[in-house]
């Protein structure tokens, strides 16, 4: 048997059988934990499916954004390759592409790449003048009935012109290539820059009062939300939004011990919580008029509890009310713990600015806060949306 140290003895003796008063709220939390544990085996698939869809959408958005950069890089590589081999091999495919158009009609030139249009048209015109001094239109029959020699001459001239044409863009690309190859960070900023240039991002400022409660709520308090969302269109009608909303959730709830067969002793709890709400929503525009649009939004939110303040009041059998305070900082987070459903009704103020209202409801997919309550919020948000980069989407 080990020898006991004096300090060990002091603490062992002093801490055995502590007189800790029973806290009804701890049992409430325990009961919810038990209920959640029993329900977990039968959790509806749609909850997992919803979380999966949200994750998939995020992935799609990421891939979509990443793809924005790829065509630029491909074009750059192609240009560099062409520049490094300015001979016939590099020019031949382009000649094969252009030659049929030259043989058919000059209008076909208009369908070619803008960079090819002017030099080729100029080349053709100058060639026509060289052959007979006739205008471009007069060159049509001549082009159709050319002799092999003339064709060779023409082809040779086209090769020269195409070499010039292809050389011109290369010089531009040679200027941009070093910028593109300065590292991954510049690639990322290039992606962002490209997105921004296209003007597809919409910044939405939200301010919303809401009512947050649960089934056992007593009384009603108004909570407040303030946030910024970014919306990126996936198609003409579909878009995805994310951002951050700073919210102060005020709610009261209570009950009594009759639910567990004990004396009917009432208790109540006042909660005051500061939360960062990070939503990921998919939006579908169901109506789009010149000045108005209506969009359905749904998705999931993660709650990051910054501060939770609870005041617990209970009344004992003698009618004496006791109060207890609990304050927690950064203790709880609920990833994808809330389902969002809302409707946005927006009015265009200008090409860049629109204002709107957004009735919304937030439903719990998991218990929220220290006491794991199934909090739901409903309210109406006022929104100001800005497309700062001038899109007309």
């Amino acid at each position: 048997m080990k020898k006991e140290h004096n300090i060990d003895q002091l603490f062992k003796k002093g801490m055995e059988d502590p007189d800790i008063p029973f806290n009804e709220l701890d049992w409430q939390k325990m009961a919810q934990k038990l209920a959640a544990s029993e329900a977990r085996r039968t959790t509806p698939l749609w909850i997992y499916a919803g979380a999966g869809v949200a994750a998939a959408l995020l992935l799609v958005l990421f891939i979509f954004l990443a793809d924005q950069n790829q065509p630029t890089q491909k074009r750059q590589h192609k240009s560099v390759k062409t520049n490094s081999k300015p001979g016939t091999d590099a020019v031949q495919p382009a000649i094969e592409k252009i030659a049929p158009a030259l043989e058919n009609k000059p209008e076909a030139l208009a369908k070619q790449e803008p960079s090819l249009k002017q030099p080729l048209a100029a080349g053709l015109a100058s060639m026509s003048l060289k052959e007979g001094g006739s205008p471009l239109s007069a060159a049509q029959p001549m082009l159709k009935g050319v002799t092999p020699t003339l064709l060779n001459t023409q082809k040779h001239y086209q090769e020269q012109q195409l070499a010039l044409v292809l050389h011109k863009p290369n010089t531009t690309n040679m200027r941009t290539t070093p910028e593109a190859s300065t590292g991954e960070s510049k690639d990322k900023s290039a992606v962002l820059e490209q997105v921004v240039r296209r003007g597809k991002l919409t910044f939405t400022f939200l301010a919303a009062p809401d009512i947050t409660d649960s089934k056992t709520s007593v009384g009603t308090k108004i909570s407040s939300n303030l946030g910024l969302l970014l919306t990126y269109p996936l198609s003409k009608k579909m878009s995805i939004s994310t951002g951050a909303i700073y919210a102060r959730k005020l709610y009261d709830y209570g009950g009594n011990l009759a639910t567990v067969g004990q004396a009917n002793l009432p208790w109540s709890l006042n909660a005051d919580c500061y939360v960062i709400d990070v939503p990921v929503n998919v939006n579908y525009q169901i109506l789009s008029k010149k000045h108005y649009s209506i969009t359905l939004n749904s998705g999931v939110s993660s709650y990051f509890m910054l501060k939770e303040k609870y005041k617990f009041s209970s009344t004992d059998a003698e009618g004496v009310t006791q109060q207890r305070m609990l304050e927690l900082n950064n203790q709880n987070k609920h990833l994808l713990g809330i389902a969002n459903i809302s409707v946005s009704i927006e009015r265009k103020v200008s090409d860049k600015v629109s204002v709107g209202i957004q009735p919304f409801i937030k439903l719990p997919l998991t218990g929220i806060g220290y006491y794991d309550y199934n909090l739901r919020s409903r309210g109406v948000a006022l929104s100001l949306s800005i497309k700062p980069f001038g899109s007309k989407n």
Binding site: L10, F11, P18, F22, W27
Partner: protein, 190 residues
């Protein structure tokens, strides 16, 4: 008691409530010693009770329920400690075998004061002190439980005692009570 346990096996909420209430203070006492604060202690207690309710059909009625409960809650607290290992502070033992047995300590501290002193220890010291000094584990058992060496366990225990002793003395000075008793006197009184 057996009736309550049978009710818990049937997942009867009222029986679960009665069992929870009956052992709340005992379980919370363990949790408060291991946890950093009241909020953590509540979490550990409920996590522990969830295991109790989930596996209560495995409880052998021939053994004291309190012992079974204490083991589950202690293990739950250890699991929580493992999750927060980044705060651990392990030192190997070197000449720490002897601590001033003659050091005077105040013998009449209330539970909350003692708890406050224990909660003031770093997690690594606190968990070893709790396991060894209060819950009766050996250094070998602690080493296996926490995946540390026996030397580390001894070192942490030594440092925990040292810290506690310093704080007890500081507490005594702050309280201005000259009634400190040497350990020998405490032992004689028992």
């Amino acid at each position: 008691m057996q009736e309550i346990i049978n009710g818990c096996i049937r997942k009867d909420r009222s029986s679960q409530y009665l069992l929870y209430k009956e052992f709340y203070a005992y379980g919370m006492g363990i949790c408060q010693r291991y946890a950093l604060n009241e909020s953590d202690a509540g979490d550990v207690l409920n996590d522990g009770f969830l295991k109790v309710f989930t596996h209560i059909d495995k409880y052998e009625t021939s053994k004291p329920f309190k012992t079974w409960l204490a083991k589950i809650i202690t293990n739950t607290a250890i699991d929580k400690y493992r999750l927060n290992l980044k705060f651990s502070n392990h030192d190997d033992i070197s000449g720490h075998e002897h601590l001033g047995q003659e050091a005077p300590i105040h013998a009449d501290l209330a539970y909350k004061e003692l708890l406050h002193l224990i909660q003031g220890l770093s997690p690594a010291y606190r968990v070893v002190f709790n396991l060894y000094a209060i819950d009766g584990y050996t250094h070998e058992e602690i080493a296996a439980l926490l995946n540390i060496s026996v030397g580390t366990s001894k070192s942490n225990l030594f440092k925990a005692r040292q810290k506690l002793q310093e704080r007890l003395m500081a507490h005594e000075r702050a309280a201005g009570q000259p009634t400190s008793l040497p350990l020998q006197q405490i032992n004689k009184q028992e």
